[in-house]
Chain length 363, copies 4
């Protein structure tokens, strides 16, 4: 294989703290190694629409602590199903994967670093199959990507969620309320679990453990009896009652990230109030969880992930995804992770620890 | 007047960062001055139900940085209209003001420090009229109490709201979105204004300035045209369209702090998306704004307010409320503030500054 | 007076959180008002060496939350005494004030906004006397500038200092130690006082109140006796013992901001340990107090100060300095403040409050 | 083995964020499991002096977010060498290990949880050898304990140090300075390395990599040449020049945590200024790094460590230390770690990543 001369970087999917730290690590390593680095704008959309520009050392300086991504993102663009106006007010869906590969070739990109979540990696896998030299870096605040123990951004989201739980704690305790905080996590409960344990939530409800409302209500009522006037409930948005379904009602059609009129948090607060008579409130923390300056933990992890991606490029180990396994940064085939979700195992020690200290999971 | 021997302290109304700092300053000053200090639990409810206990120096140590109130609060209890079960599953409304005064006398309380917002001060005014020796300390994160330039808690809420605006900024900018953040402030826009200016929001909507949706949408669209793909909108919950009404739909009956199914933030996001086609989202920050550790600014201010309350007690200047006027801590008659709201004047220099640097107020 | 067409902005003196917020407010207001804006680099040095460049709207976007100054600063350059190499390895001191005025004229600057502290304002006053159209914006984390109740940056420094005091509090309390934290403030004790009150320091030592070491030691020993194993001491760097001098030993010659080998904090810790036998430690917080993202309070205040400076320019009210008096943003003549220091009055209510709750000032 | 009925908990050594989270997890788990829990005050000192008291559920509530340790600590007490007054103004050193074991027996403690660092674990090992049922939980902000990849407290210290580096970054960049920040880490550079990478320090100096001052100075000078006026240096306190020794000068005799008059940070700043002529400053962050509220990451980790300690007790697996290996919480024999230090390997990927992006290690 000929030596690399020019590489491209893109970020796809939802926002995640640490994206810029990865971009910086990849770009600085590559520039120091004598490569040219090209930033592709707005995820796959930049490849489809041929929007890209060279990244200098200056461009990637002072971005380590900045949230978001300097390259922009798009969580709608999918090369396999790209929507173009049909000229009659509607849309035509086209497969532009071959064009994307051609664009890369034309731009002289010898290889691509793709930073994104599950959807972005599915797209990346398709490009790898079409012959593109590509390495992936996983990104998800939900921490639900297979084959990796941790992804950057997760602990920043946990910190933001814990901070919110800490804040409502003081209000709940002053007003003897049940306070329900709905956190992100449609398919996996890592964020609600980690933030709940870190802030000492009394009840933690996650998608992996269907909850019995009677048990949640009993926990709230029992705390009242022993003089604890308040209860803090951390609930992942994908949590559901035993035998029930996820709360994805009132979805705005076709939106990949739907605005919901009322989710599981509101439901739990209303039902607990009905069952116990206790004053109950809910808040939905929402997009705040995705944004902001990454914590020092995530800046460090993202820098290490970015550097490992560069090493994979250097070694010509394409088609691979950077992961952490057994505490070490390593890599797996992108094809091994695409389309799979990593959920919280019932015997994860943080679940057992939470149970041991009296946390209610509603089961 | 005989010297004071024993004083009581109570906190009423919604949560507010800095309550404990006031309690600590009043109690430590009084204890150092040789007085006995009694903590009354859960606002007026503690007076009605005779729940109080002595506060020692130890009880009020290490609470300066703690959010909430160690005395508990109740934003439902109003001595003029106290709801008691009627024995038939309903409620009877009773006027217990005389009983409350009698309870204070029986408990040997020579004077009372009442910390609370507008509602609590209306109640306090009634007790003053019935002969109780009482001084008030104003509390509102909304900063909308008359006769005082500032209240403790407000700048902590501004800090929390600014932090949320900063966080969604990174996501909005990465995804080229319009992001609407609904903040507290039903009658006055201080919080949305201050947080909006402090975080550089592009649009600020407050109750005092009815907004024209077309103008808000145009601002978003114009920003897109000059290459700014995103817009941050800070909106106070009481903001309303020109000629329209406040969004207090779907209120849970009889709740003093209603859970709302969708307020002005959601409305603005939906309408802007409709008018411009730009991807728009909204979040409601909610109770997070009331909680948490007070900022150092608020700990300092609350300590000064608490000390001034103690001085008023010492000097026998009852019926007065601690305020800040012209940059100095002083006091006014409680009767001068009860029932009045301080709104943002159109010529407040923070409004003018925001306009000068290009912020849209929708008018 | 002819209308302004082009204005310059410079920042002088030590770092201070909020400088960029002022620059942004001045520049955005001026650009929106149709003016050209020129950024002068590194304070007066940029005027002396003719280093300046136009500022666009883009240049001053996204700097609101950024610490430091995008224009750079220099706390050595003084137009009245500018040091130039004499070609023989030494330095010649020259008065370049006339040249500076000429540079402004040549660059077509109709007016100047000068943001800086006491030294910078002394220089500004000289330029005003030489006919330059100039308005000043005061900057000092020490809050010791005359004629203004508050300056931006101070409360960010207070927040940083309080945070450090909070952190050592946990260690001191776990290890039963006396912990002395030396804070900035050579001539005035505002920072040590405000941070000390905000974090509940047990002892606060400031330049305005010479301290008696025996009394400080007795406070530490007395706390031990009543079961409080620890004492937190907040000390301003300019604090001095009764009859003693300030600790400005071991100064590196000619440095405007000397590195000191051991100041009052270390002295107090050593002496208290000697007098009481209690384990005592000291830390010098240092430059951390000057840096970082401004708090929302300071971003708001700095924006209002910057806007007011622009208004003064617009109204042709040159030679004036933006200040806050009686809670309002207004202005005074620069000549009224130059060379004067505002110290903490003995009857400032924060001092009285601290005394009332048992804080020792060492007197 | 008979079932456990009563256990004791103690915390030894220097302060570390997360101690209370461990205490809470052990105590709540044990109380929920029907055990009695006894808190031993001030580390081994409480065992020597027989100061202990029962811990209730209430005692360990609301301590999760509190820094320090509610049990107090002592980093002087060593049962093998306990100093007692000899009655003639001096001290006698006694071996009180047998007495300590006897005290535990007399107090009816069936087992002990010892939370501490290397020194504390050496003591624990001795007690295990004397037949005490004991499990250890490792504690060190330095992260230099053998056999465990991570300890709670480290990432909180990294966050504090990164925050300080971020803050001086703005000042350094505004004033074109070299800013040296001395961080903790006498034997291992984990803290300086992790904080340096997380904050984008330009130079990182750690004990494991002796530094060449010329190279450090050249990095600073080269940055100046390419227009970067400033350089941030993160230096671990144990870093030393090639061929030189650690800077432990001016130690206060017999102190386990000596006050130093000037360490490696000051040395580096002075020498760089001498070699380059660049304005250089240093700060010593000091005890701030040990204190404060643990981050959510550390609260989670400490809770998991505490729970695992309880499980070891339950399973009768005494003499073991909780550790993390290959990403999993597990345990090793205490005898395997005592007296060993885990240093940063030269091929640790965070070092390689830092080198790749241009960080100077001075070698």
């Amino acid at each position: 294989m000929a030596a690399l001369k020019r590489i491209g970087i893109l970020t796809g999917g939802g926002d995640c703290p640490g994206l810029n730290a990865v971009i910086r690590a990849v770009a600085k390593s590559a520039l120091a190694g004598g490569l040219e680095v090209v930033g592709i704008m707005d995820g796959y959309l930049g490849l489809i629409e041929d929007r890209m520009h060279p990244l200098s050392y200056e461009d990637v300086s002072n971005i380590l602590t900045v949230g978001g991504t300097i390259l922009g993102s798009s969580n709608k663009a999918n090369p396999a199903r790209y929507a173009v106006p049909d000229g009659r007010g509607g849309w035509t869906i086209r497969d532009v994967r071959e064009e994307v590969v051609a664009t890369c070739r034309r731009a002289g990109l010898d290889a691509l670093v793709v930073i994104g979540g599950d959807g972005t990696m599915s797209g990346a896998h398709e490009l790898v199959r079409r012959g593109l030299n590509l390495v992936g870096v996983p990104k998800t605040i939900d921490n639900d990507l297979c084959e990796t123990e941790i992804t950057f951004g997760h602990h920043t989201a946990v910190a933001t969620a814990s901070d919110a739980l800490d804040k409502v704690h003081t209000t709940a305790s002053s007003h003897h309320r049940v306070m329900v905080v709905e956190l992100m996590g449609r398919y996996a409960g890592w964020l609600a679990l980690h933030a709940g344990v870190a802030s000492g939530a009394d009840v933690i409800l996650i998608p992996e453990i269907p909850f019995d409302l009677e048990k949640v209500a009993k926990t709230c009522a029992d705390r009242r009896k022993v003089g604890k006037g308040f209860t803090i409930v951390a609930v992942g948005e994908g949590a559901k009652p035993v035998g029930g379904k996820q709360f994805v009602d009132h979805v705005v059609a076709d939106s990949p990230d739907p605005i919901r009129l009322g989710g599981v948090g509101k439901f739990v607060a209303e039902q607990v109030e009905k069952l116990t008579g206790l004053d109950s409130r809910s808040i939905v923390l929402g997009h705040v969880q995705r944004g902001g300056t990454p914590t020092s933990f995530d800046r460090l992890l993202a820098t290490r992930f970015g550097y490992h991606a560069f090493r994979l490029l250097q070694d010509g180990r394409f088609g691979r995804l950077v992961v952490q396994q057994k505490g070490e940064i390593t890599s797996v085939l992108i094809s091994d992770v695409a389309g799979k979700v990593r959920t919280v195992p019932g015997d994860y020690d943080a679940v057992l620890a939470a149970r041991a200290i009296g946390t209610c999971f509603g089961d």
